[in-house]
């Protein structure tokens, strides 16, 4: 379980009304969320719901075909539309990001020691022996066994779990205040996933950094996060403390996701699958995007998009008590 963090007056990251469209097709339809210092926030949802796009937009990592609107501030400083020089200092510096497939994020023709020390040089201004020593310390810290000798290994000589550790070492090089982990364990075996999640938990505790965990896996999020945002078709549909959310989901989509997950104990009943599929971005329903699949749909659901209501606990559903 995560740490208990006293919410500070001003969050580290504040996202408001963030929207993204690719060649005119909307992918993100207005996101409001905050991440406090040292906090663990989970973002869950299915493919295409916008959970990754949100952070790629914040960090200016989307291609030119994307139109980004709204605002995202880091300590009050605007990142949307910020000059490249500002974003380059933020990325890998105050905010680092790791991805699902470490093997493709690492350079296959460079030794891992060099890749980590490059990040150290770039973000900390160390060079030569000092950068190498720091790279070695980081590889040690993320649990690469026999790190001194593994510095000269290439990514293909390492396992998937080891490569993810190297990626994490690279991300730590700039001493980030926020680490965004985008499906960090999805490509890994379950016992290795447990190791990597344990590592992230330990690093967060020791460095006091905030962690945003993007995952399709409710189990992973339940285990790692203090607060969770559930996303559907480009919007946040529910936000709550993890314990409260898993004990009693309020949005029918969240309820549906939990019902779709096979239980580990008790009788094996038929799963309550959500019927149908996510709407295509160019054919969004007029009202609530989940209405066509929703068991609690009424006429009013098709009239307008429900707002995310509530204070500590937010839900975007006219049928739910906030």
């Amino acid at each position: 379980m995560g740490l208990t963090v006293v919410p500070s007056a001003s969050p580290l990251i504040r996202i408001s009304g963030l929207s993204v469209a690719f060649n005119g097709t909307p992918a993100l339809l207005g996101i409001d969320l905050t991440v406090g210092a040292g906090e663990t926030l989970g973002l869950v949802g299915e493919s295409g719901c916008g959970k990754s796009v949100t952070w790629l937009a914040v960090l200016g990592l989307l291609p030119n075909s994307a139109t980004v609107g709204g605002s995202a501030t880091l300590d009050g400083r605007e990142l949307v539309g910020a000059p490249a020089s500002v974003l380059e200092r933020v990325r890998g510096g105050r905010v680092a990001m790791i991805f699902q497939d470490p093997a493709s994020a690492l350079n296959p023709v460079h030794r891992i020691g060099r890749q980590v020390s490059e990040a150290v040089t770039l973000h900390r201004g160390l060079s030569g022996g000092a950068a190498t020593a720091e790279a070695l310390r980081l590889l040690d810290e993320v649990g690469i066994p026999d790190a001194r000798n593994r510095m000269t290994a290439y990514p293909h000589e390492m396992s998937g779990g080891q490569n993810q550790r190297v990626m994490i070492a690279t991300a730590l090089a700039g001493r980030p205040e926020l680490l965004i982990a985008d499906e960090p364990t999805t490509a890994l075996d379950v016992t290795i996933q447990a190791q990597i999640l344990d590592l992230l938990r330990r690093l967060q505790r020791e460095h006091g950094m905030a962690l945003v965990l993007i995952s399709h896996d409710l189990g992973v999020v339940a285990e790692m996060c203090e607060r969770v945002c559930v996303m559907y078709a480009g919007r946040i549909v529910e936000e709550a403390q993890a314990g409260a959310l898993f004990a009693g989901p309020r949005h029918p989509y969240t309820t549906g996701l939990m019902g779709a997950l096979p239980p580990l104990t008790g009788p094996r009943l038929r799963l309550t699958a959500i019927p149908g599929r996510v709407p295509e971005p160019w054919a969004m329903p007029p009202g609530c995007a989940f209405a066509p699949r929703c068991p609690k749909r009424i006429e009013a659901c098709d009239v307008s998009v429900p707002n995310l209501r509530g204070e500590d606990r937010r839900v975007a559903c006219i049928r739910a008590a906030a």
């Binding site: 075996d189 016992t191 896996d217 189990g219 779709a260 096979p262 038929r270 799963l271």
Partner: protein, 316 residues
């Protein structure tokens, strides 16, 4: 009634290490014995490289074992490619993880669903069209979706099309290799429900291969846990999930995210099949290893409670 039986099957592949290295034999499957009864599901779980997919291919006769035998409906598996083997395709079908890779991108899905009927000479054109319509309905696809090409369908719809094609010739056995792993959780539940419905209505047996323990528990009547080419535990799914006997099964169950078991994090990487440890293959990662484990390979023995376990310390 036993439909499919694997008896001590082994399959190895030569692998070259490095650019000029000598070829070494990698034992992907190393003496596996399994039985699938008619109309029942055997779940096979394990991590990458444990040999579960190779086991599936051996069960289908797509691979010939180096030793041991595969028996289907009481008869030995014919060698791949021959007339007898081809005729057997109507009886057993593979449902793979990636439906887009399994479908022909250039043909509408209805044509592909009809293909097994054409190949096995089942019915005339009119009967085939009726059969395709029935199959589409049974997997939950609309008639207008049948005219589409695979790329015009979603992942879940493609997996439904693959299932319809697998069912076309009326098989007695489906080998499902990670059939829902590439799907989102809400779609995953639809396909899992569909598989259990089809089993109920058609009486199909399944060999269900997956790394996802939640899904395996949901669909299986019996579960086999594999590690490095061998079955290390086998038994009733509820018994294995609530009280796993082998230390590796315990670690697997404990590692399920959001599970109730406390985390006992297993150290070390998944093992390399080309470098099998002596004695019990799990001993380098085992939290309760004793001297005997390093020297002596445990056999898979059935305990008094009906569970089969390959561990010196879990004889029960």
């Amino acid at each position: 009634m036993t439909l499919l039986a694997l008896d001590s099957v082994a399959r190895g592949y030569p692998m070259r290490r490095g650019w000029l290295g000598r070829a070494v034999m990698v034992h992907a499957v190393d003496g596996v014995s399994l039985e699938v009864s008619a109309g029942r599901t055997l779940g096979v779980v394990g991590e990458s490289g444990c040999g579960k997919s190779t086991t599936g291919r051996l069960a289908l006769g797509l691979e010939t074992p180096d030793s041991g035998t595969v028996t289907f409906a009481g008869a030995a598996m014919p060698p791949p490619g021959g007339a007898a083997w081809r005729a057997l395709r109507a009886q057993m079908q593979l449902v793979p993880q990636d439906p887009l890779g399994a479908l022909d991108r250039r043909l509408p899905v209805a044509r592909q669903i009809a293909e097994p009927l054409v190949i096995h000479g089942i019915g005339d054109a009119g009967e085939r069209a009726d059969r395709v319509a029935t199959l589409l309905a049974s997997v939950g696809l609309r008639p207008d979706q049948a005219a589409r090409h695979p790329h015009a369908l979603s992942g879940g719809q493609r997996q439904r099309a693959v299932l319809a094609r697998a069912l076309a010739a009326g098989p007695a056995l489906l080998v499902c290799d990670e059939p829902v792993s590439a799907l989102d959780v809400s779609i995953q539940a639809q396909i899992v429900n569909l598989l259990t419905d089809l089993q109920e209505s058609h009486g199909i047996a399944m060999l269900f291969i997956s790394h996802d323990l939640r899904v395996v528990r949901q669909v299986s009547h019996e579960v086999a846990v594999m590690y490095l080419g061998r079955v290390i535990e086998r038994g009733d799914p509820d018994a294995i999930f609530t009280d796993p006997a082998h230390p590796y099964s315990r670690a697997l169950v404990a590692a399920i995210p959001g599970g109730s078991k406390p985390h006992a994090i297993l150290a070390g990487d998944p093992p390399n099949p080309a470098d099998r440890p002596a004695g019990c293959a799990f001993h380098p990662r085992c939290p309760v290893v004793v001297a005997r484990c390093r020297a002596e390979t445990p056999t898979l023995d059935v305990r008094a409670d009906g569970r089969a376990v390959a561990c010196h310390l879990a004889r029960g």
